[in-house]
């Protein structure tokens, strides 16, 4: 390590007192950021392991559940995030080259990408809530009031997906066409072979379950019809968990990027000091990268 004597008059404003040189400070920050990103990967790592275990135990519910995801919107979001990573990388270069105007523009575009991603995600979530697909036990609760009690069969005769709405006691047969009615093959999948014995059967026939079970009453929801594989709620639970945690990271990224934008507007960053832009960029790339794994795992396979 090269050593420059630490005299106060040689310290630029951004150099903190316990560092000797700007290079030392930059390298410390960069190493710290990489370690932090390693913890982020491990945080999501637990969820990826959970995904693998669930998918291994219940392959049929992943097949059935993913039908409900809108691949086009997912692909749109993937494209948006990749574009925002490109603008972020360009922003770092602009900071290094002292180009303030382009830096501000590129950071703004990156923020716009992040916001777009969350808006699309909002529409995806609300659409599912509208269909009664909630996370947790609420999935099995009857919606309040008796008006729009959802009943559904997953696969119709044409091989598409539809839902039948039951209005009050009078069945009002109405096909809800999904925007992206999938060309999925009929999913009459046998219960999981690997899962705990009898589980799938239990879920299909609520009457057989022990009376003292907390969850028994929830399983009588009409969504649990015989054509629908058991435990499909678990697909949505892990979907909400992983995309939700990722969404939180995107929201945090908007905060970081906005802070960088303010700094850029004040002219804090330049070729001598671009550490925050560089490190913020690293964070943003990792958030992007995690989505690049989430998209195929949920939407495509």
């Amino acid at each position: 390590m090269s050593h420059a004597p630490a005299h106060a008059h040689e310290h630029p404003d951004f150099l903190r007192h316990h560092f000797n040189t700007p290079k030392q400070q930059f390298e410390a920050g960069k190493l710290g950021m990489w370690l932090f990103l390693a913890t982020e990967v491990l945080l999501f790592g637990g969820l990826f392991v959970g995904y693998s275990v669930w998918r291994g135990n219940h392959p049929e519910m992943f097949k059935a559940g993913s039908v409900f995801l809108n691949t086009k919107l997912g692909a749109l979001n993937t494209a948006v995030l990749i574009l925002s990573s490109i603008t972020m990388a360009a922003a770092v270069t602009m900071a290094q080259r002292n180009k303030r105007g382009p830096l501000i523009l590129l950071l703004s575009l990156t923020i716009a990408g992040a916001v777009t991603f969350l808006v699309v995600k909002y529409f995806e979530y609300t659409h599912k809530f509208h269909l009664g697909i909630y996370p947790g036990l609420k999935f099995y609760e009857k919606p309040a009031g008796d008006s729009h009690t959802l009943s559904g069969s997953l696969v119709n005769d044409a091989g598409g997906v539809d839902l039948v709405l039951v209005e009050g006691t009078e069945p009002l047969v109405q096909e809800v066409a999904f925007a992206d009615t999938p060309e999925a093959e009929p999913t009459t999948v046998a219960p999981a072979a690997i899962g705990p014995a009898g589980l799938a059967q239990d879920a299909l026939e609520p009457g057989d379950r022990p009376a003292d079970d907390d969850h028994a009453e929830h399983l009588t929801h009409p969504l649990q019809d015989p054509h629908r594989p058991a435990n499909v709620h678990m697909f949505f639970n892990i979907y909400y968990l992983m995309t939700g945690l990722h969404g939180v990271h995107v929201a945090a990224g908007i905060g970081v990027l906005t802070w960088l934008l303010i700094g850029a507007a004040k002219g804090r960053f330049g070729s001598a000091y671009f550490t925050p832009v560089d490190l913020g960029g690293l964070y943003w790339h990792v958030v992007d990268l995690i989505w690049i794994f989430l998209f195929p795992l949920f939407y495509l396979i």
Partner: protein, 566 residues
């Protein structure tokens, strides 16, 4: 370039406000502590907070032992007992032992030992202290809003559908927040050691304590996020019933155990490695002899950290895990004993023909070697598949981990506090009372916990509130031992607090240490070193001599000062 003069306390830098000369008095007022970025003050705040938690959890432990002194109800009913041992375990593990050495003593001495002015990210350091405080508040909230009775492991389904108590979510949040406090501390120390070493301080000139802290940092960064996501899942599971760990919803309860131990086994090494680092310093300094096998001790710390990641399954031999996994985990578990034994033998070789001073820190170090060896060797009984089935969930396990966690980590912490007390506070404590208290703790500890090995081997299950008469004598002896140990700790608290007010002023180097923290005054100045200090062999004591008048060590007058020494 000037060199630190070890014979005199350093003079304050020119231009510094003339309020004081050391980190304790260079600024004043409560806010100068609460918002400080100084690693030394943050270390002291951690130390006070952690010792307060230690006192609290110790009281819970004594209540548990008191309840068990006789079969049936003694002082509390079974539900209260469940809450009591859960809190004892959870607070001791998450609030005390995991942060204890790195966050308090590590924070204080790491930058000074390195010759740096501060840790790499002082603001993050303060932030992680307040995360610790937040975690402590959540843990207290868990007591107030309903209690937790699952044991510190929070196993499902106890923690999801098995209990009516509502403290689970609070305790889980506490674990989550404390985890991030631990991550940021570890991250900070790794970066500090990589990037802030002054010229001349190469990896193999670092004191072994720093190698231990470095290895600990790796585990903190790489394992803790997994417990973070696990308790997050537990919170969602309990609040919404997502079913990931709930078999009745298609989930997998054993998955929780895998997640939990993927962190909590490496966490055992987060607890013990810094303690081993302290012992490496104490043994060498107080026997005034160069450490034996420096590189072996250094690399054994890293080896323990790495092996620690791949042995978690040995907590789950009876959990329906596959027999093949059991065999593999058992085999890898045995391999961890190699680097641990490397340390023990090197410490013993360091003591051999050393000029041993039986100071209080040294007594704690010797206690550590004795207790950790027992704790480590009984770990082999538990790592063996056949014996584990008999010993699983008995008091044998309780005794084993108390020998390692308490006889190891806590004893090392207390030894380290005594070793660096003169440096931290600038005062000397009563050596006489220090030795008495150490003796009481050592004797009381062995009475309390060796009995539990016997009781466990005879079949007494852990966590039981009631027992048959055949175990009564062991419970009585164990409880008496815990009281003796408690008396030792209360004496320790008394003379340490007394020394703050009445203690003799400490010299810069009371023990004859050679690492850099003994080269600055006691207590150190706010900036540690105005210029990066020169680095020598931190275990070469031949250059120091005792000064009767100063009651401390200084550089020998008959050999030249280490100007230009590298």
């Amino acid at each position: 370039m000037t060199t630190i003069d070890v014979t005199k306390p350093m003079q304050p830098e020119a231009g510094r406000p003339a309020q004081g000369t050391n980190y304790l008095n260079h600024t004043t007022g409560i806010m100068s502590w609460l918002l400080t970025m100084d690693h030394k003050r943050i270390g002291v705040m951690y130390l006070v907070s952690i010792l307060t938690s230690f006192f609290l959890a110790g009281i819970f432990g004594l209540l548990v032992r008191t309840e068990l002194i006789a079969p049936g109800r003694t002082i509390m009913d079974a539900d209260a007992y469940n809450i009591m041992f859960t809190l004892h375990g959870a607070i001791m593990v998450f609030l005390v032992i995991i942060p204890s050495v790195p966050a308090s003593l590590g924070n204080f001495v790491l930058p000074i030992m390195l010759g740096a002015k501060d840790v790499a990210f002082p603001r993050l350091n303060l932030f992680s202290y307040y995360l610790w405080v937040t975690g402590a508040i959540f843990a207290v909230a868990a007591i107030i809003f309903g209690g937790v009775d699952t044991g510190w492991t929070l196993y499902v389904p106890y923690s999801t559908t098995g209990t009516e108590m509502n403290g689970i979510i609070f305790l889980s949040m506490a674990v989550f927040v404390l985890g991030f406090s631990s991550i940021f501390t570890g991250l900070n120390f790794i970066v500090t050691i990589h990037r802030l070493r002054p010229p001349g301080m190469t990896w193999f000139k670092m004191p072994l304590f720093l190698w231990a802290i470095y290895a600990t940092g790796i585990i903190q960064v790489m394992a803790t996020p997994v417990i973070g996501i696990t308790v997050l899942l537990l919170i969602v599971e309990r609040a919404f019933g997502i079913g990931i760990f709930d078999a009745s919803l298609g989930g997998d309860p054993v998955l929780f155990q895998h997640f939990f131990w993927f962190y909590s086994h490496p966490a055992v090494y987060i607890m013990i490695l810094p303690g081993m680092g302290i012992i490496s310093e104490l043994i060498s300094v107080h026997s005034h002899k160069h450490i034996f096998g420096y590189r072996f001790i250094a690399f054994s710390s890293v080896a323990i950290a790495l092996f620690g990641f791949i042995v978690w399954g040995h907590h789950m031999f009876v959990s329906s895990q596959s027999p093949l996994m059991n065999v593999l985990f058992s085999a890898i578990t045995f391999s961890v004993s190699i680097p641990s034994a490397v340390k023990i033998f090197n410490w013993l070789a360091t003591l051999y023909k050393g000029s041993i001073s039986l100071n209080t820190p040294m007594l704690y170090a010797l206690s550590f070697i004795f207790l950790f060896t027992i704790g480590g060797l009984t770990g082999l009984h538990l790592g063996t598949l056949a014996t584990d089935i008999h010993l699983h969930d008995t008091y044998f396990v309780v005794a084993h981990f108390h020998y390692v966690m308490m006889g190891g980590a806590i004893i090392a912490l207390i030894g380290g506090i005594h070793h660096w007390w003169p440096k931290i506070t600038g005062r000397m404590y009563s050596e006489f009372w220090g030795r008495i208290a150490c003796g009481l703790v050592f004797v009381g500890f062995n009475i309390a916990f060796f009995t539990q090995f016997v009781m466990g081997a005879k079949g007494m299950p852990r966590r039981y509130w009631d027992y048959t008469d055949q175990y009564r004598i062991y419970h009585v002896v164990s409880t008496v031992g815990s009281y003796i140990m408690a008396i030792g700790f209360f004496i320790t608290a008394a003379y340490l607090i007394h020394s703050l007010f009445r203690g003799r002023k400490a010299p810069a180097n009371p023990w004859g240490g050679r690492s850099l923290e003994w080269q600055c005054s006691s207590p150190p100045p706010a900036e540690n070193f105005p210029e990066p200090p020169h680095v020598g062999d931190c275990y070469d004591y031949s250059v120091l001599e005792w000064d009767e008048q100063e009651q401390g060590y200084h550089w020998r007058r008959d050999i030249p000062h280490p100007v230009g020494e590298a």
